[in-house]
Symmetry: C2
Subunit: 109 residues, 2 copies
DNA sequence: TAGTTTTGCTACTAAATATGTAGCAAAAAA
DNA sequence: TTTTTTGCTACATATTTAGTAGCAAAACTA
């Protein structure tokens, strides 16, 4: 599957509405997990592999490439890091953490 | 793959942190798209299929089952609909729409 | 009330994506 | 210079998704 880019057809939108491209990108295995982790600071390939526990290097590498092409992460001297846009995106999804813990998880008691 | 449930090991967290279970669930193909669509009102199976353009009935049915078991959607007389939790979740991810359009998409001009 | 249509699926095959393991070249550390 | 760490690639296997067909039940229509 191609990189989902605003303005081009993606899964869920033939006109390529930006939010659909974003949901397509974020909906790929590990995308959000990588962003979630990188918010706490830059990380190396191997550290990301450890963090993500079960990710394969093949998939990790693919996700990293996609996220770089999407301007959400970049390579720095300290390893992979969120871009300004990546940080903003994290801050948008950050509230999911509290909600999952305080509200959603109650359903499974 | 099993349904990601808070408290049980999921991809990204052996201890099953709720947010990791949630990211695992939402990270599956079409999960967020379905929630996004249902916020505008209840929908039938066939309408969801149309909306999601390229989703296969197999996958749609699987996602619907998962989201129901996760208490995010339910069946009503008018079809599939968001639960209270589902609506809250939508409201958390809703800001992604504006950000994708106004900020993220600029990278691709 | 006998068709016709719509709906919510299931079955099946093919394609795409992810995992798991091994390993290697380059850079950094000792 | 040797050892370790890092960032991958290759390849085989497993899992997930797409694509198409079709069917039983419910809802509409004549």
């Amino acid at each position: 599957m191609n990189l989902p880019v605003p303005g081009k057809p993606v899964r869920g939108s033939k006109t390529g509405q930006p939010v659909m491209a974003l949901l397509d990108l974020l909906g790929r295995n590990w995308s959000m997990g990588i962003i979630w982790h990188l918010y706490s600071g830059p990380s190396t390939f191997r550290k990301l592999q450890d963090y993500c526990e079960s990710i394969s290097p093949t998939t990790l590498n693919k996700r990293l490439k996609e996220l770089r092409e999407s301007h959400l992460i970049e390579r720095t001297l300290e390893g992979y890091a969120l871009t300004q846009d990546g940080k903003e995106l994290y801050e948008l999804i950050e509230p999911l953490g509290g909600w999952a813990r305080n509200t959603w998880a109650k359903n499974f008691d």
